[in-house]
Amino acid sequence: MAKKKADEVNFAPRGIGDEKDGAVQKGVDLPAPTKKKHKSLGLSEDDLKAMYEQMYLQRRFEERAMQQYQKGKFGGFLHLYIGQEAISTGTVFALNDDDDIITAYRDHGWGLCRGITPDEGMAELFGKKTGCSKGKGGSMHFAKTENHFWGGYGIVGGHIPIGGGLAFANKYNQNGRISATFFGDGAVDQGAFHETFNIANLWGLPAIFAVENNGYSMGTAARRHTVTEIVDRAKAYGMKSKVVNGMDVFSVYEAMKEVSEEVRDSSEPYFLEIRTYRYRGHSMSDPQKYRTKEELEEYQKNDPIERLKTYLKDEKILKDKEIEEIEEKVEQEVLDAVEFADNSDFPDESALYDDMFAEDEPYFHN
């Protein structure tokens, strides 16, 4: 190959500026996890068991979902959350049950954490009438609004202003609730993100905005698609911010507890950059040529589920056998969910026209 001329026009992204020999650093730098133990965080042993069960459920649910997808049991997109379970779990345990959560299309873990049953979740993936969204949404549109989980949304960044709107309504009604909006690192480059941050601070919206920076927006390393650290986006909008280790459920819990209390008291928005790593591809069709196996293995050493398991054992909260019992119970739940989904009916054809309008007999143009 001919040597490149120095003055050759080059639009290779400059990135954050830590590139070495033209190679931009991949993945994310994980900040140190919290040193606090569960008692000083206000978590009981039962809380820890529930957290472990929840994280293990999210993991096994998605591993089984992947299997079913590969078997051809359902189609569409499938974006897996595997590796990021500490974020949903730490958050849901820290927030009040009636605080409003909204996220993007990597939404299975969030849904399970907010009370979508494995049956309802798996059936939604299969596109069955028994799914949480009656088979109308699929993988990207899990929702359970009665539990204040407003759903997964498919347009990158499109739900960020909506999360601001949830907070707007809470402030309007003075109901003491806050909203928490989660999105991937790709979304920080969208106009919707910037417009919402400005308005959220202008109007004092009680909203947490949290990027789950898993290192990659599809195949583009986070450090290649932004010219500043993502957390610094907050400075432009006078918003408080911090970086959180998203591979450690205690760190997420601690940050969310503190920040949610502050947001609730002050009615000021807050931005969190939660650093994590997605183990699987962007979706099922991603060959993942943009990263190395070694890099993935490096992050898997920080696996959030293994980390909590080690803690439970080291602190003598659970014995191996008790952990196994939890895992077996979850495994059975997930297998039952697959069976439930498989045996459920597809929506009736008449359901095609349901849920379009509030009226019982709406107008459809033809």
């Binding site: 009656k134 609004t145 499109g158 960020i160 909506i162 707007f168 809470n170 417009e195 849920d355 509030a358």
Partner: protein, 327 residues
């Protein structure tokens, strides 16, 4: 009946609905302290305060999305656009979110939100401030679209739109805000969405025209009357749901039809009406349906070019002459 300007009818509708329901609020650029770019919201800040009459920055995507989220979470927002030409920036929220969130969550989300503001051209404002978007929004399932022509319709239909539990696009015109008209003084005056109105009865030809084009059709009808042509004008008022039965009934009587639309010709309102008439009233037609639309050209600035671009009464008369074989 009271004589009101179009903007006063709009304001009355908003005011009455805000007084009636605490969950209704209005936000948009210049709606509060400036009293509205076109004074449609004049006085509302003084009456309802900063909680319910809210100035936004120039962030159509951002504030529309906040409206969508607020509607999902129990409020009834009215989102004002300074013009629907700017709402293109908010298209993701209207088209991808407001119209779809309920469906894709299996009916878990309701979306009582009104997006309103002026539509289409308003004189020599150049190419980017002159587009009619009503047909475009009507294309998308899940949205109701209203483009009114007279103060009375505006009041009754805007009140309905604000009470509707679905997303509604409500369109006005910069050039009609000062226009006066008789408005019903009936208490709580409501016009149901989806009902057109026969605005002029006639027997020779049906003209379908809405929004600003209704007034062009009316002018044409007055001139045609002098020539002995008796025009019936149907104003559908609501683009979607469309009052097709009213149009078909009229054609059964007149056997001829001209559609006047302020949009470009391809796949627009006029194209849709033309298709529907051939399907529903083919046997009643004595001539092919004609349409008067903008050309397939952007809005020019120069006065002479602009006048050539915008449909006028002369264009309508020519089309009527065609369908009545008076050429």
């Amino acid at each position: 009946m009271a004589e009101l300007q179009f903007r006063e009818a709009i304001r009355e509708a908003i005011d009455e609905e805000m007084a009636r329901e605490e969950k209704v609020f209005i936000m948009g650029e210049e709606v509060a302290e400036y009293n509205g770019a076109y004074k449609a919201t004049e006085g509302l800040l003084d009456k309802y305060g900063y909680k319910r009459v809210i100035d936004t920055p120039i962030s159509e995507l951002g504030f529309s999305g906040i409206g969508v989220g607020a509607a999902m979470n129990g409020l009834r927002p009215i989102v004002e656009f300074m013009t629907f030409n700017f709402a293109v920036l908010a298209a993701d929220q209207i088209i991808n979110h407001a119209s779809k969130a309920g469906y894709m969550t299996g009916g878990q989300i309701s979306m009582p939100i009104v997006f309103r503001g002026p539509n289409a051209s308003a004189g020599q404002l150049g190419a980017t401030h002159s587009v009619a978007y009503d047909s475009m929004y009507a294309h998308f399932p899940g949205l109701k679209v209203i483009y009114t022509s007279e103060p009375d319709d505006a009041k009754g239909l805007l009140k309905s739109a604000i009470r509707d539990d679905n997303p509604v696009i409500f369109m006005e015109s910069e050039q009609m805000y000062g226009m006066k008209g008789e408005v019903s003084e009936e208490e709580d005056y409501i016009i149901p969405i989806g009902k057109g109105k026969v605005k002029r009865e006639g027997s020779d030809v049906t003209i379908v025209a809405h929004g600003k084009m209704y007034h062009v059709a009316k002018q044409a009808a007055a001139q045609l009357e002098k020539d002995g042509v008796d025009v019936e004008i149907i104003d559908p008022r609501t683009v979607k749901p469309l009052d097709l039965p009213m149009i078909v009934e009229s054609i059964k009587k007149t056997n001829r039809c001209v559609v006047v639309d302020e949009a470009h010709p391809f796949a627009g309102f006029a194209a849709e009406i033309g298709f529907l008439i051939q399907r529903e009233a083919f046997d009643y037609l004595d001539a092919p349906v004609q349409r008067v639309t903008l050309p397939d050209v952007n809005a020019p600035f120069a006065k002479n070019l602009f006048d050539a671009w915008l449909p006028d009464a002369k264009n309508v008369i020519e089309a009527v002459n065609q369908v009545t074989y008076r050429n």
